[in-house]
């Protein structure tokens, strides 16, 4: 990377008020570190306990989604995308006009992407009360995968953020897409 690119990246991050960003393979140790850094940052920023809790909760779910997804999705993502690239993800935490924004990006195979999109459409179509009941229903009737995921992550993110989930699936080739998720927290 030449000097100008570094400066440009710096300026973008400054403009977007990005508190933390990472691109690479998401591991359990990385999550522990990132969560600890964000806790200290929010203490330093003097956020209310309520905001801190919300941001922390949503961040845990977003990052653990990446962690689990990368674990199961990487094998089926197209071979044309280098294996290490398919296993890596991007996340950013920013604060814009009093709102925390968590953005994530990762590869997903087209089929899983379509299924995820159906769930996101359903979640975004629900109001606060409907989300509460849907959460209770999935909690009580859903089963846990052997990785300990319960299909509750996106519902919980929608409930706690208090906003619609913004997302996009960018087709990369015939079999894979890049999934972008943007969460604004009130």
């Amino acid at each position: 990377m030449i000097k100008n690119d570094i400066y440009e990246l710096y300026q973008t991050m400054e403009r977007e008020n990005i508190l933390l960003s990472f691109k690479g393979v998401v591991t359990s140790d990385l999550l522990t570190s990132v969560l600890s850094i964000m806790e200290s940052k929010m203490d330093y920023m003097d956020e209310s306990p309520k905001t801190k809790k919300k941001v922390f909760n949503v961040l845990v779910e977003c990052l653990q989604n990446l962690y689990h997804h990368i674990d199961d999705g990487a094998e089926s993502v197209d071979r044309n995308i280098e294996r290490i690239e398919a296993k890596s993800a991007l996340f950013m935490i920013a604060k814009k006009e009093d709102q925390f924004v968590i953005s994530t990006g990762n590869y997903i195979d087209r089929e899983s992407g379509l299924e995820l999109e159906r769930r996101l459409v359903a979640i975004n179509g629900m109001d606060k009360d409907e989300l509460k009941h849907y959460y209770q229903e999935v909690l009580n009737n859903g089963s846990v995968s052997d990785k300990g995921t319960a299909g509750l992550g996106m519902i919980d993110i929608a409930r706690k953020s208090g906003n619609k989930l913004e997302y996009q699936f960018l087709p990369v080739n015939d079999t894979s897409s890049f999934f972008c998720l943007n969460i604004k927290i009130d």
Partner: protein, 127 residues
């Protein structure tokens, strides 16, 4: 029977299960990537405890944070407690939340809606 004591960590709560006192406490944060492994010994302990419990069993849940992977495990733990309640012990869940933490208060109500045990949802200044 033996009590169960586990130190808390960055991603798991501290556990104090005291059989003779009928006091079970989970405190701190429960955000491991895979909660099943962490909760298994807790469920096993309750199975053993259910064979000869004391008359009153109080479960104090004082969680600051928990992830959705834990939420299912916590439900299973409550279901286990529900199954031992009413025979030779009466189980009460005390669900604590910090003031203004509506999300944690609602989480308590979510469990209350599903589980047929007495729930006390208690607001405290700090957990």
């Amino acid at each position: 029977m033996e009590n169960l004591h586990l130190e808390g960590s960055a991603k798991t709560p501290s556990i104090h299960f005291d059989a003779a006192a009928g006091k079970l406490e989970l405190k701190g944060r429960s955000i491991p990537e895979n909660s099943v492994e962490f909760y298994k010994p807790l469920n096993d302990w309750i199975d053993a405890y259910g064979k000869s419990p004391v008359a009153e069993t109080a479960v104090d849940v004082k969680l600051e944070y928990f992830n959705t992977s834990s939420s299912k495990c916590i439900l299973d733990l409550f279901k286990k407690l529900e199954s031992i309640s009413g025979h030779s012990t009466n189980v009460v869940i005390n669900w604590y939340f910090e003031e203004d933490d509506e999300d944690m208060e609602e989480a308590g109500q979510d469990y209350q809606a599903i589980i047929g045990l007495k729930f006390n949802i208690i607001e405290v200044e700090e957990i």
